[in-house]
Amino acid sequence: MMRSQNGAPDMDDSSDEWMRSVEEDDETEASIGSGPEVHLPWLSQHIQSSVSHGHKRTNFAETTSICLSFIQEAVLKHQWQQASEFLQCYFQTLEDVNSQKRHVAPENIWKLGSAILYHHPKSNVETFSAFAERMKNIGVQNYLKISLQHALYLLHKGMVEDAYRNLNQAESWRYGEMSASQEKLVKLIQAYRGLLDYYTWSKKRTELSKFDMDSFATNAAAQDMHSYFRQASVNLHEIIKIPGVWDPFVKSYVEMLEYYGDQDGARQVLTDYAYDNDFPSNPNAHIYLYKFLKKEKAPVDKLISVLKILHQIVPSHKIMLEFHTLLRKSKKEEHHKLGLEVLFAVLDISGCTENITAWRYLARYLKKIMMEKHLDWIQEGWSSRKDWWPTFHFSYYLAKKNWKENKILAVKKAFTSGILLGKGCKYFMYVSKQGCKIREKSVKTMKKFVMKHNILDSEEL
């Protein structure tokens, strides 16, 4: 009964493998009698062999792995020629008896081969293309991936038309049932094609702007341009529905929509891109939306609400200074309060410690708040920073360094430190002392102000 099945092995298994296992029958059966009650041939055999001989692997597999390590070594030493020679030997893995290894072989070869060909001094586009064409058809599973990468390679080499043709070809490729991932991949391929359509569209647009109005040629060119827009928009619209990072696609799609006056559509795309919870919290999504709204002259409250979210994700972004200006100009008091927090948050990040604009804004804003008697705002912002800002920003070492490198920065920082830490602060003392030496005017005014107003003294009052 069981034997009758032997004639029809699984489709995936090659006949030689089948033959091999049939030949091994005798040995296995011999062990049935002597073994335990229930025989697990695959298990015992392999545990046995791995234990007694060390290597279970066949000689071929051993050689293959050595070959692979040679290739990797050559690639890591940038010996492209040597690597390519080893790779030629490695092609033999395509005929591995182990079906699993045979399955992954094309992908490995493609990865290694494309990397080598990319860097090989004697390789050229034709070589790469020929290699890609071959590899596409070896592993059916990899057709789409290789097509896309091939197209990107061509793009990189400036061969836009070839790349376009390639993408087109890949898009129309069908093989059996499509898996979910393949569907997504096709969408990505389409999106790249849409991006290329967009490039053509924008080229046509610049051409069109040079033409005279209302001529027949203009009309035809405009028609042509519209057709590219239609092609691109369909594909781009599809991809940005799938969660991911699609900055170039979104940007180009929005640009086209804007051109055709579909402001609502563009806003909707950007809002979805920024606020969809399935998407990663991409700061660019918020930045695009903000820039769009700003161009659209949207109300300030709208802008502020967008930037509020960006402030939470990337408190150090340079738009935050713009945000601060918006908040400062706003009529609402809570916005004024947030404006201070935004500045504090910018200066929290280590990459922004010497941002002179931020320090200038902070010094000015602190002064303003002091005059407006909103000391509690400062204290609130300061309470979570007072244990580390003194060492982080206002240490004696930094005072010396800043004064040496950038006197304006040093004065702004000294002013801030004076307000926040009082006149006894090391940073303030050093800068005011140095400033007095060279009779810097700004230092004098700063000193004067700090002597009168700082949060320490105000607390005591």
Binding site: V38, K318, W388
Partner: protein
Amino acid sequence: MDFPDNLFPTFFLPGPPGLSDSPGSYLAPAWSDCMQLLKPPQDPSVNPQHETSYVTKWGRWTSDTPGPLPFLRPVAEPWEPELTSRDLLFQGQLRRPFGPKATVDVIEQLNQFLWDHGDVAFGPLGRLLQENFNLGEPKKSQKDRTVMNAEWLVQDLSGHQPKGCPWAHLSARQRRFSLRGGSVLGEEVDGLLGGLLHEELETRWKELLLNESRTGGALGWIPGARPHVGQLAYPTGQACNQLNFQKVKLSTTSGPQALGDPTRILLQGPVRQVVTRTIQEEALVAVRSDHHCAVWRVSRQGHPEPLQVLGTEKGATGISLSPHLPGELAVCTRSGAVCLWSPQDGLQQIYKDPETLVFKDPSSWRWADFTAHPRMLTVADRTGVRLTDVRGPPDRGELLFRVGAEASCKQGERVLLAQYLGTSSPASLNPTLHLICTQFSLYLLDERLPLVPMLKWNHALMSPPLLAQLLPPPCPGAPLPLLLGGLGGHLRMLHLSGGSSSTPQLAAPPQSLPSLRDSLPGFPVLEPHGEQLLQDRLKAPLTGLAAVVPPSCPSPTMLLFQLSAAGDVFYQRLWLQPDTGSENADSLQNSNSCTDHADDPGLDSHDQTTATSSLDTAPIPSAVSWNPRAVACCRRWLKTLLQVPPALPPWTPPTFSLHRLRWSGKEDKGKGREGLQAAMAEGRLLQQGDLGPLPSSDPPPAHEPFGPEDKLTERLEASWEGKGAIWWDSQQGDTQVLRKRRSREKRRTQLSSSFSSVRTTSDFSDIDSRHGTPSPLHRTSEASQSLELSQEPWVRSVPRERRQTLRDYLAVLPSPDSGSCSTPQSQNPSSQTIPTSEPGQHSVPRFQDPRTQTLLCPPPGSSSAHCSQNPSSQTPCSPDTRFNSLSHSQNSSVRSLPSRHTPSLAGSQPRKKKPRMGF
């Protein structure tokens, strides 16, 4: 600060790791990162120009020598190579005699394995048998004889199954089925499953053997007050408990120089990690041991002063120094707690969760590092990395990285290292980048865009990457070198480019750097033993990595220091050699030529018959070769290394000296002969156990028993003899046996109490060696010479009544010549060895310490009494006794412990004769 304006398109599809058809999996293959292909062309109207490659633009990192050179003298301790997974997995030829201490639970292993790979294990069979099995449905056609009703079989299987062994209870039906089908059923899957199982077992062993405590590395560089002077901080010693601060002078043209001897600090635990950081001109060194963490401040003069020590009950797994605030540290422990620690403000617990972040993983490894925000920390475990705010509640925070489908991780992929790559120079790289290494790949993540890797590269390192260091750009605008070190010594250098407004990219294909093993050709060829020693030494795991950029070099240079687990520090000088056009070291053509060539090298297809152009088939990368200076350096180092006593003293054939026979014969208690004979027959080292247990009374002056039973001594003795496990078993289990053994020992102790003097002498073997004895071998020969000179007077001075005893004794000497020594007056050379009786006549020049002499004196007469009591069975012990003593005195300079706790039979040494002859 700017955020990269245009990120690479990528899918974001959450899910478990190992989804092989995740569409993201191809978006970050190794090559596309280098090619920057995923970056869509910015402006299509402008023809994209061929970007100049890294090599043409910046040059090529080349090394002075093909391998690293020894920097410091080898440490004076022997190095015993560690176990490898191969050693444990395969029974073949184990390099070490001892077996594995850790074991894998095989049943659990197989259980999980079959769950994980159920599709492979059962799927094909199910499909094969589908048509022939009927699972209890009403039969469609009675005629089909090939369909079997498997209903009962399945019922049997789902019945009683004791845990762990489903086959313990078998029905006759099952048995019949397995016998009939067994031969056919298994074969379909055996290749696949066997391979997977084997791979899995090795992975398990590797996991068990992965010394995660070494994460981060134990080599640190502390820049000094002057730019060309600095210090290396690293541990040495067999227990890694000695922290060294070695001053180093950097030279612009040649290699670094060690200035004087290192400052040594002896710690009470092994040093696992050394972190150094200089912020605002304050240099700090943080050290992690298993249960302690400590911080030192290094003064401008270079003196380390301890600041504070922190004890951790559960054991610390990671320590890092803040790049923002001087003196602030993050410490994490096995209990899952992460603390912010500063010597001024003490400890502040930030996060505590004994569970892992993303999914359940048994590892208790935790890691913490800083971020671009001084109040935010990353907390990492094997499953992911989390951003945690110091000020906020501990449960707030978001995941920065997750082992899952977002980063297209593989199944079984785990985080091994998470490091903050903050740079101080704003133009080079975003200060928000984090490096995350797993056993397969390397990821760069921006903390402003969590979960989406900015860069992924398959590092293909053969060993877990536990060390990483980002270096400043070699010249302004150049990409930043990122060094990655695997535990096995493999090194990779990546070139990260991308300013603050673009995503980080690999500017050039990553390259490998020479490891310690590549230095082997630089050493002279040795005899096999020495060669093995050297190879073991060079193959020792890499435990520390420190790259230093020497100031004011004509061309960009870096010095790469490497610390191996054997305690050796090697260095290598790398410099950026400007590209000289087509004349390149490894025949790499100028990249402009790539479009000109019409004839491709035959790579357009996988047609193997295509011949390769043989024009440039010999790309030898190492234009550098071993220069005489490097070879001399290696030679010097090797010379010192070979002077280091080996871990186990090599077996030397015993030289039979009758003097020794005579001397040691007294210790025999009958059992010794068999033991010795067995040892000789097997050609192995004679052990104390072969000669019977040792006396425990009359301890040496330094030794004090730890109680009435003195189990500690017993245990120490047993383990010294290699019978620790037996001792333990006997302690645990059969007290009967123990009691018997003890009573036997007691009896023996009484009998052999006089041997204590022997033991005492052995205690002073190191004293002796301190007094300038060149080597035990010399000593022996000198001593026997003096004996020969003095034998005649001795024979004459033997009292008459004792001569018979002596004769009896000499008659049984095994020497071939001993037959003729029936009389002491015989001229036979064998009688030369009979000791002198006149104390004054035998010179014992090496005992200058009168105290030693008195200590060596046994109760007069007792030894002679034994001698006459039982002379016949003394002799066999001596050859190996001598060997024992020899090995001990050799060891004594290395290990003082054994000579103290292991009473040896070193009494056979000639100099002890004098006090014995006190009658």
